[in-house]
Symmetry: D2
C-alpha cells in the first residue's frame, strides 16, 4: 500500500509534504520520498528507505525549494525493496520534468510495459507506475491535463495519482475509485492527500473527494476539473474502512471511526457471545470495532492486550527461548483482567493466522477460561490486485481452511466472522459501490498477466 | 527514569536480557545497555544511545556469552546525555568485576561522593550510581551480599539495584521501597525486573516482589534473602500507578490497569461532568483511567484522539506553518465524533501544560462545543528527587498557577484534578505506604545537596 | 573522470569487479557501483556514494551472483552528486536488461537527448551516458554487437564503454581513442579495465588495448572483434600520461612511469636550474617526473615534502588559526633538508594555483632560500570536454595570467612549464595522436551545446 | 603506539588539538580523543573509534570550549578495541577533573593496579594508563606538578604524559626517555606533541624536547620545569627513527629523514648489491632508506612499487581468487621497470614476513630476474614492552628462523639486515642512549608481570 500527498502554491511546499507524510506513514513504511518543484531549481528528489521520521535531514529538506511538492510513502514486498523503487518517480522528457506518486496497482501493466518497450522505452525500476510516466512523456497534447487523460487511456486497475508536469500539479483517480484521494485548501494553496488525517496535520480544510474518473489540475492557483473516463460501476476498497485507513480519517466521504464502530455493532448482532465476561480489541486497528461490539452487546470493553510501540523493524530473536517472541515483543496480556474469564477478542481480519494464534496463546497463558474470537470482516479468500499487499492464496488461512478449522488452528473456543452483507452495510452511505474481491472472489477486472505479481509491478 | 532486568542461570542470558529490555523501554529511551558474565570471558559490556531495537547488532549480541546478564534502559536529561552515562556500570576491582544497574536516585550522592573522593576515588561518570560501585569495591566482606549490605549503609534515596559480583547476582531495594522490583523464575533461572511485563516477555513466572530493605543473592542456583535495613515507613512511588508503569504490569503487588481504572472511577465520583456527551482519553497512558471514568459516570467511552506511533525522536519542524506541529504530528482528533459535542478529556497528569494546551486546541478545532478536562492525579507542585525526571519547579505549571488559572491557560471549560486522598485510595492494598511528595510537598528525605540535580546524580 | 572494469566468464565475477575497482579508485572517488548478471537472478545493481572500500558490505557483495560483472568509479562535480548518477546504469527493455559503465564525455549528448525525448524517451538521470542506453534499447538488430554499433552511430566525444546485454558483454572505445581501455585474460575469463593496474590486482594478464572504433563482444567464452567506426585521426588524452593514470599502469600501450620519467628529463633539458641544491616532487603524482628531472640534471632527488594519507574527504577547518590549514593538513615540509637551500620543486600541473601557492609558502617557511618551480606539462588554458573535470576557464590560473604573473602569484623565484612539443615527445611511441586541447586550445570537436557542461552530461 | 598533543593558553584549543592529531594519525588509527577544559564548562571529552578525519563532527568540536586541550591517537590490539579504552582518560576526583593522555607502556602496571585495588580503587578500563590517574587522585600535594611527581614515583616503563589538573597543564617524560615529546610555542600558547610534525601543522615553533625525568607545568602562561626522577641511562626507542616517526619530524633532537638516509647509506656499506640494476623502496616508510642506499651504492633509485592509499581498514576478500589479495590491493609493481632486472628492495623491517613474502611474489611476477632484499634495521627477535605493538615472539619471523631461512621463506635471492652497530651509528648524536631491546634482547626493565600483555595494559 502507499500514501500520497501533494501541495501546490505554498512557499514551504516540501516541508508540508514532509509533515503530511508523517500522517500517511501507516499506509507504507518501506520507503518515503518527496519531489519539490521550483521555477529556479527545477524538480529535486529526496528519497529514503524506511520511515519519514528517520530518513530526511533538516539540511536536505531545506534545499527542497519551490511552491509545488508531492510525496509518497510505500510498502512493498521484500523482492523489490530497493531505493530504485522508492517514489515519487522523477524523470526528464522533452517537456521538462515529470514527477509522479501512485497509490494502487495497475492490472495490465505488463501489457502496457511490453507496448512501450516495443516502442523503444527503457525502464529504470520494476514498478508498474513507471508505465504511466512513459505514456505521459509520449502524450502529444501540450496541455498537462489532456496529456494525462491521454496517458491513462487503456490503463486498467487501481490508481490515485499525483503528477507534476512543469508547473502544473495534477491529481487523478481511476474510474472505479478503488483508493481514496481528497482535496483540501490551506489558505490559497491546494492540497491533495490519500486521507483527511494528512490534511489535518498541515492545517488544511477538506474540500471534497477527487471523483472516480476525474483529473484535477492546479496551475497558478487555478483549479480545473476534467473527466477522463466513466465507469459503469464503483469499486471502492472496503478494506480501507475495515483496516487500512486511520480512524481519524474520512475516506470515500465517510468517517473511518464511525464505519468501524458500525462493523463492531453489526458483528455483535450477527455473532454475539452472550456469556462472555467482557470484550477487548487487538490494538490499535481494532479498537473502534471492539468498542462497537461492546456498545451493541452490552459487554464491558476492557484493555486486555497492551501493544509495545518501541519495537522497530528488525527484531533479533533469541535462538532457543525465543519461540513466539515476535508476538510477545509486540503484545502482552493483562493477567489481572483475563484470569479465569470468558472473553471476546475482536480483530479486524485474519490473514495468515500466525499472529492470531500467538495472541490466543498469550491470552490463554494469562489465565483466560474461554476465548471467543470475533472478526469484523469476512474471511479473506483471495489476493488483492488493487493495491493491498495480501500474500498469495497459499498463505491465506481462510483460502485453505473452513472457519471451524481456523478456529481450531488458532485455538479459540468459538470463532465468527462478519458476513459480506453485514460488512457492506456498515459504512456510511449504503452497501453499494465497494470492491470486496478478496472476500468474495468477485474481481472487477481480469487478474494481472504476470503470475508473480510481487516481482513486477505494484506502485504501492 | 530507568528500567532494570537481570537473569542468572540461563545459557542465553544476554539474549533474554535484550528481550526483557524491550518491555522496559517505556521506562527510558535515552540509552540502553547489557552486561553478560561468563566464567571464560569474564564480564562484557554492550551499550548504545537510543532504543533497544536500534542499537544492538545480532553479531554483537552473540558475542555476549555467559549465564548471567543484567540490563538497563535509561532516560535522563540532555545535560548528561552521553554514552559514559549509559548503564550498566562495569568496573574492575581487586575482587574482579562489578556490574551494576540502578533504577532510582540517591539523595545523598554528593556527600557520599565527596567521602569517596577524599579517600582517593576517581569517578568516570556523572551518575550517582557510581558511588555504590566504589563503596562495593571498598567493602571488606568477601561475601557478595554482605559486601553489598555494607556498601548500602548510609546510602539515602531511591534505589533498585541489580549487581553482579564475580558469579553472584544480587538484587536490592531501598528500605522505603520507592521503585518496584520483582523476582521470577524461568525454569531454573532466576529473573529480576522492574515490572512484571518484562517477566512475561521472556516467559518467566512471577515469584514475588523484592522487599524494601532486602538483598536477594543468587549463585549457582541458590537463592538467599538478606535484610540490610529496615525503614519506619514505606514510600512507594504512587506515580508508577498513575503514569509510569505499563498497564499490563503488576507493581508493588497490584495491577496497574486495575489501579488506573480505580483512579478513573474515583475521578468521576469527585469531579463528574454530568452534561457531557462522552469521555475520551489522551492515548495511550490514560486509556484505563478514561475507561474508569466512563464506567463510573455512565458516559460513553470514545476514541476521539488518535496517536501516531511513527514519529521517532527528532522531529523536523517547518518554519512558518509549523506552529503546534509537534502536538499535531503526534495526535489527531476525530472530527466526526467531536463536532458540536460537549466532551470530557481524561489525562493522567499535567506537567508543563504545553502539550495539554495544544491538545485542547486540536479538540476545539475539530468542533468540540465544550471541553471538560479531568486529571487522574492531583496537581504536581514539586520536583521528584527519587527517580522521576520532572522539570524544575519553575516549569511545573501547577507550581505557578491555581487550578482555575491552569484551566484558563489551557483553554478548557472546566478543569478538575483528583484529590490526594482520592488518588491514594485507588491502588489495591489501601492508601498507606506511598510517596506523594511531588503532589503534596511531603518529601520523606531532605532534598539533594546539589542544587542542580540534573547535572550530578541520577542513575535514572 | 571515471574508471571502468568488467569480467565475463568467472564464477566470482562481482567479487573480482570489486577488487578491480580498488585499483581504479584514483579515477573517481565520488561514487562506485557494480552490476552482476546471472542466468537465474538476472541483473542486480549495487551502488554507493564514496569509496569502494567503504560502501559495500560483504553480505551485499555475496548476493551479487553471476559470471558477468561490470563496475564503475566516478568523480563528478558537486551539482550532480547523487546516487541517481552513480553507474553502472541498469535498465530493462524489450530485450531484457542493459547494464552500462562509461568513461568519457559525449559532446553531442544534448542533441542526442533531444532527439530521444522527441521520440518519447524519459531520462532517469542527468548523465550523458543514459543516451547510449536509450539508443541501444531502440536498436533493431538482435545481435548485441551490431545493436551497439548502431547505437553509437552519430555519438560524438569520448567514450570507453562496458555494456552487458543479456549474457553478452561488450567493450567499446570511441574512434578517436580519448580514454584507455585494455583487455586481459584470467584463465578463461575475459577482463576489461581502464588501466592495466586493475588487471594486475585480479591476477589477469594483459592481452591488448581495445582499438579506437572497435567493439569487442564476449559471449560464452567467444571473443569477437567488430569495427563500428573509423576516425581520420587519433586523439588520445596526453593528460593520462601527465597526471591521471597510475604510474604502475600501462595506457595507450606505454608505461605511465616511463612516460613521466621522460617528461621530467625533458623538463630538465628545457628548463634547467643549474645552481639549485636539489630537486623534489609534490607527492605522489609527480614523483616520477621529479626523478626524471634529477636523472637528467644531476641534481640530487630529495623527499622534501611529506604527504599525509589519513585526511579523508571532509576536513573541518579551525576558524582563526586555520588559514592554509587545508594544505598543511595534507603536506608538510622537511625543515632539515630545506633550510638555507635553493631547491627545484617539480609538479605535474598547476590548475587553480591555490594549492601550489600554499606549498611554496610551506617550503619557504621551512627555510628554503630559493624556490624554482618546474611543471612537467604546459600551462592549462582551457577546459576539457572529454572527461577530465577541469574547472571553468575563469578558474584556470594559466588562462588568466602569464607565466611570469603566475610565478609571482605563487611566490617562486623562477617558474617554467614544459613546452607542448616537449610534452608530446615524451610518451613512448612518438608525439602523434594525442589530444592536447586543454593546453593548446586545439579541440578536435565542437564544444558541447550546453554552456553549463557541469549540469548536464558527463558520464564521468 | 599512540600520539599525544596538547595546547594551553589558546582560545581555539580543541580545534588546534584536532588539527594536531591529523599529524599524529600514523602513531595510532584505532581511536582518537580530545578533552577540552574551560573555566565555565569544566572538562569535556570527545572520543571516537577510527580516524581523526572521520569521527568528529564540526558541531561537536565547536562545543569543546576552553583554552586548554589535550588529544590522543591510539593503536591497540583487537582484544581491547573499545571506546572505553579511547584516550584521553577523563575522571573526576576531590580536586576536580583529571584528564590524561599517555604514549608508552608501563611495565609494572599490574603491580600498581593491585596496590590501588587493595586500597579500594575501581577501574573503568583495561588500560595501564588508568593507574596514573588513580595515583594522581590519591596524591596529597595540592601543587599539580608535585602531585604528578608523587604519582609517578615507582611507575616503571615508558611514558610520555599530557595531564590537565584543574587549569594546569602538565607534560612528563619517563626517566629513560623511551618516547619523544617536544614543546613548542604558538604565540603565547604552549604546545606539546609527540613529534614536531604536529607543531608544524598548527604553525607552532619548536622550543625543545621535554627531558627524561622532567615535568613541565603550564598555568596562566607560566612555564615551570621540575625534575621528578633521574635515570642512570637513556633508552630512547631507536625504532622511532627506523620506522615509527614521520620523516618530516624531528625526534630526540634529530631529523628522522636524515637518520633514515644514514641507515640506508650504512646498509649499502654493510651489504652492497653490486651487480643489481637499481634499488627501490617499499613505500612510503622506506623511501628515505632506499634513497640512502642509492646514494651510497650509486645504484639508480626507482619507483618500482606503487602503493594504493584508498584501501580503508576493512578489506573484503574474494574467496577463491583472492589469495594474496591483501598485499595486491595495497601494492602493485611496475612491470616495465622490473622486467628482466636484478633489483634491490629496501624495507625498514620484517615483522611476520607475510607481507614481505607477498611483495617479493609481486616483484617476481612483474618479471624481476633477481631480488635482493636489504633491511635497514637488524632482525626483530623479541617483543617490545615499551609501547610498540609488536606481536608475540611466536609470530616474529626472526625469532624463529635464521636470516638464510627467512630469505628462503620470503623467496629472495639474497637477504641482508643492518647490524646493530650500524643501526645505532646512524641517528644524529651518536650511538649511545638507545633502547634496542626488540633487536638485541637487552631489556632495560623486567618484562611485565602479566604474561598476556595484550589483554591488560598498554596506554598505547
Amino acid at each position: 500500500m502507499c500514501g500520497i500527498f501533494g501541495i501546490a502554491g505554498h512557499p514551504e511546499a516540501a516541508a508540508l509534504v514532509h509533515l503530511g507524510l508523517y500522517s500517511l506513514q501507516h499506509r507504507g513504511q518501506e520507503s518515503a520520498g518527496i519531489v519539490a518543484v521550483s521555477a529556479e531549481d527545477g524538480a529535486r528528489p529526496l528519497r529514503t528507505m524506511g520511515l519519514v521520521s528517520e530518513g530526511f535531514t533538516e539540511s536536505a529538506l531545506q534545499e527542497m525549494r519551490g511552491e509545488i511538492g508531492i510525496g509518497h510513502t510505500r510498502y512493498s514486498t521484500a523482492g523489490t525493496s530497493t531505493i530504485e523503487n522508492a517514489q515519487p518517480v522523477l524523470a526528464r522528457f522533452r517537456g521538462g520534468h515529470i514527477a509522479l506518486a501512485h497509490n494502487g496497482n495497475l492490472t495490465n501493466a505488463t501489457e502496457l510495459r511490453r507496448e512501450l518497450e516495443d516502442a523503444g522505452s527503457i525502464f529504470a525500476s520494476t514498478m508498474d507506475s513507471e508505465v504511466v510516466v512513459h505514456r505521459l512523456a509520449r502524450a502529444e497534447d501540450a496541455d498537462p491535463a489532456k496529456a494525462l487523460a491521454a496517458a491513462l487511456q487503456g490503463v486498467e486497475g487501481a490508481f490515485c495519482l499525483l503528477v507534476v508536469l512543469g508547473d502544473t500539479m495534477l491529481a487523478a483517480r481511476d474510474p472505479r475509485g478503488w483508493r481514496p484521494l481528497v482535496m483540501g485548501m490551506l489558505g490559497d494553496a491546494v492540497v491533495f492527500a490519500s486521507e483527511t488525517c494528512a490534511l489535518d496535520i498541515v492545517g488544511a480544510t477538506v474540500v471534497r473527494e477527487i471523483e472516480p474518473g476525474e483529473i484535477v489540475s492546479v496551475r497558478n492557483g487555478e483549479i480545473v476539473s476534467h473527466t477522463f473516463a466513466r465507469s459503469p460501476s464503483l469499486h471502492r476498497c472496503v478494506f480501507e474502512y475495515v483496516y487500512f485507513a486511520r480512524p481519524d480519517s474520512s475516506v470515500f466521504g465517510g468517517s473511518v471511526d464511525r464505519a468501524r464502530r458500525a462493523l463492531g455493532r453489526q458483528l455483535a448482532r450477527e455473532a454475539p457471545a452472550p456469556n462472555a465476561d467482557f470484550v477487548f480489541s487487538v490494538p490499535d486497528s481494532s479498537n473502534s470495532a471492539a468498542l462497537g461490539f461492546s456498545e451493541q452487546s452490552g459487554l464491558p470493553y476492557e484493555l486486555a492486550l497492551i501493544r509495545n510501540h518501541y519495537i522497530g523493524r528488525t527484531f533479533i530473536q533469541p535462538t532457543q527461548s525465543g519461540r513466539d517472541a515476535k508476538v510477545k515483543v509486540k503484545y502482552n496480556a493483562v493477567r489481572e483482567l483475563l484470569n479465569g474469564k470468558s472473553v471476546v477478542m475482536v480483530d479486524d481480519s485474519i490473514v495468515r493466522g500466525t499472529t492470531t494464534r500467538g495472541l490466543v496463546a498469550l491470552i490463554r497463558a494469562a489465565g483466560a477460561r474461554e476465548v471467543h474470537m470475533r472478526v469484523s470482516s469476512p474471511p479473506i479468500t483471495g489476493p488483492c490486485y488493487y493495491g493491498i499487499d495480501t500474500p498469495t492464496r497459499e498463505e491465506l488461512v481462510a483460502a485453505n481452511m473452513t472457519v471451524d478449522e481456523i478456529g481450531e488452528h488458532i485455538g479459540v473456543d468459538s470463532l465468527a466472522y462478519l458476513t459480506l452483507e453485514g460488512m457492506l452495510a456498515a459504512p456510511p452511505g449504503g452497501p453499494g459501490g465497494f470492491c470486496h474481491a478478496c472476500f468474495s472472489g468477485d474481481y472487477p477486472t481480469p487478474p494481472p498477466a504476470d503470475p508473480d505479481k510481487l516481482r513486477f509491478g505494484c506502485g504501492c
